[in-house]
Amino acid sequence: MRATLRFTLLAGLLLLGAPAARAAKDSCVDCHRGLDAPRLKAPAVGFAHDIHAERGLTCAACHGGDPADPEPSAMDPDKGFKGAPGRAEIAGLCASCHANVAFMKLYNPRPYVFSVAEWQTSVHAKLAAQGDLKVATCTDCHGVHGIRPPTDPAAPVFKTNVPRTCAKCHNADYMKDHAIRTDQFALYAKSAHGVALLEEGDASAPACNDCHGNHGAAPPGLKDVAMVCGTCHGREAELFEGSRMKAGLDALGKPGCVTCHGNHGVQHPTDAMLSAAPGGTCAGCHQPGSAAAQGTDAIVSGFQGLQNSVTHADSLLQVAEVRGMETGPGREGLKVAQDALVGVRAGLHSFDPKQIGAVLAEGAASSRKATDCGREALRDWRNRRLGMVLSLVVILILIGLVVAKIRQIEK
């Protein structure tokens, strides 16, 4: 009851007082802006561009005090002044508003509501609870006195900025007192995900928080890895879940996905990975010449055959198209074959030769259809040329006859 009353008063104060305070003089900003010490001046300057300021909140919302008082007495503890919160208090201070559904709905009918319970599951929060204040708290990721919403490209938590924001702490220097790896950013930046996000600006590629979570950030457990990858690579995860390989890896205590693909440094999978020969991914567990190695070789040769067939059909269709022939049905067949090439790569995660063979067979049939269409188009093209020559010969003979008739009449 008391908490509700306190919230109501706080909300009323903020909503009614904030616009008035914005319109009236804000002694906090007025004074701090004029100070020489950068530590004291920067908050007032930065806050002008802060999402909280844009929504009408003032310094007093976090720091207390009386912004209407132009004298240093504005910072009188009797006027509610709290000063700068300590690192251990920051999460609680932010949560006092951001974890309050009713309050957040005043600003957005469908707000993101911070979950204290989720935060407490994070490694950051657990270590903080043990007194380790070097761990990240809200302001380390979101900034302070200049906080931008996550949708703002200037925000440190904007999708493409997240990896560098995490790397501000997760580096060898900052983490020297913690026994954890610090090569994640270097690996990620060169990974398929990192290149897509950081170099190509592809926002569909995952950043750190897409796999680890953000407010509840933690390394996924061994059994959770496939689930994490499966949030994006759904088909592969689904097939893997029912495969013999999953059962085998579980028995060995090895994680799914990561065992073959790695984690932070994950690269675009290549056909070369599919080999039990030295250098191949399968060689990590399987011996050359083993049944698994033979099965892999058969699959690889199957889809290399499909790939060659697709390339051949494509070049035939291209030649026909350059010659002005209509190849629509062939292109449709080729599309199915190309989809099968993608499908067979996804299908590999079933580790079931029968299932993979079915996809390969479907692709091969479609590729043959495309090849036949290309050949037919080229044969048709040759026939058209022949027809054209024959018709021109007939037309020229007719012209000759008519001209002869004209001359005969003239005589």
Binding site: G324, E326, P329, R384, L392, I399, K405, I406
Partner: protein, 357 residues
Amino acid sequence: MSLNDWLRERLGLEALDHVIEKKRVPVHRHTFWYYWGGMTLFLFGVQVATGILLVLYYRPSADEAYESVRFLMTQVSFGWLIRSIHSWSANLLVGAAMIHMFSAFMLKAYRRPREVTWLTGMALFVLCLAFGFSGYLLPWNQLAFFATKVGTDIMGSVPLVGPFLARLLRGGDQITGGTLTRFFGFHVAILPLCMTALLGIHLFLVQWHGMSVPPGVEQPGAALKKEMKFVPDFLLRDLVGWLAALGALALLAALFPWELGQKADPYAFAPAGIKPEWYFGYMFQTLRMIPARVLGIEGEKLGIVGFGLAGLVWALAPFLDASDGRGARARFWSVVGALAIVYVIVFTLLAYRGGRS
């Protein structure tokens, strides 16, 4: 009674014999230009014949149009040939009609008493352009979709009646399947009906007045020195031209079969470098070169009004030019005609200097 006699008695073919026997074509240094009317008529005949064959397979709806044309081109024997000839012949038809129109203008064939022949010819030329514009959308491919969008947008800029005209053509605010059905209706019903009526009047008037003799050749009060019979002399020469056109069509259809492209997707980006068919190129280029605003008036509107006025003046040339085709006023109109030809050629080339659209 032989069949021939039976028919002659019932159809009055004696009168036709009389006309054929009497019809003469003047022979002089400009006789070559007389063949272009017949060439235009022949190509129109090709359009009618191939168009009827296309209608047997074509299905005028957004869901089926593209597929039906593709079926025709890939599955129907000689379907590709019929479609390619129809498309190429349409282009040659407009080209032949242009040559016919400009030669008639330069030879002042519109002089009294052939003013109405000229006016019907002008109307026929506009109908040819309308045939081209409406037929272009029918395969429902990407290029046609966006070119029609641009074309109807331009029509929407016509002062006062523009928005109504654009809605009338599109059957709504956007190009949809409804527009396709409507264009099909224009292409195979309304325009052919108008064309048949006007063509009938035009041919009757040509027959009624006979071939015009250019003022430079004509000797006032004196009969022409040289003539040839229409049947068979002129008709056989016409036939040579028609056979040559047929050969050109076979060559074009085999070497450059008309592309079908991608199916129209209203939500896709417009393909780069959309241009209308070449016979709208000079207008398109002119509108592109006019500044956005001229003396406070929207450039595109100004251009469209300009084309409207120019077309009106062109149509009224028989009434504005000297009736005997001689003197300063006649020379002025000859210069106007020459400038118009140069303008159309140069601006068409400018529009297409980047290659075929």
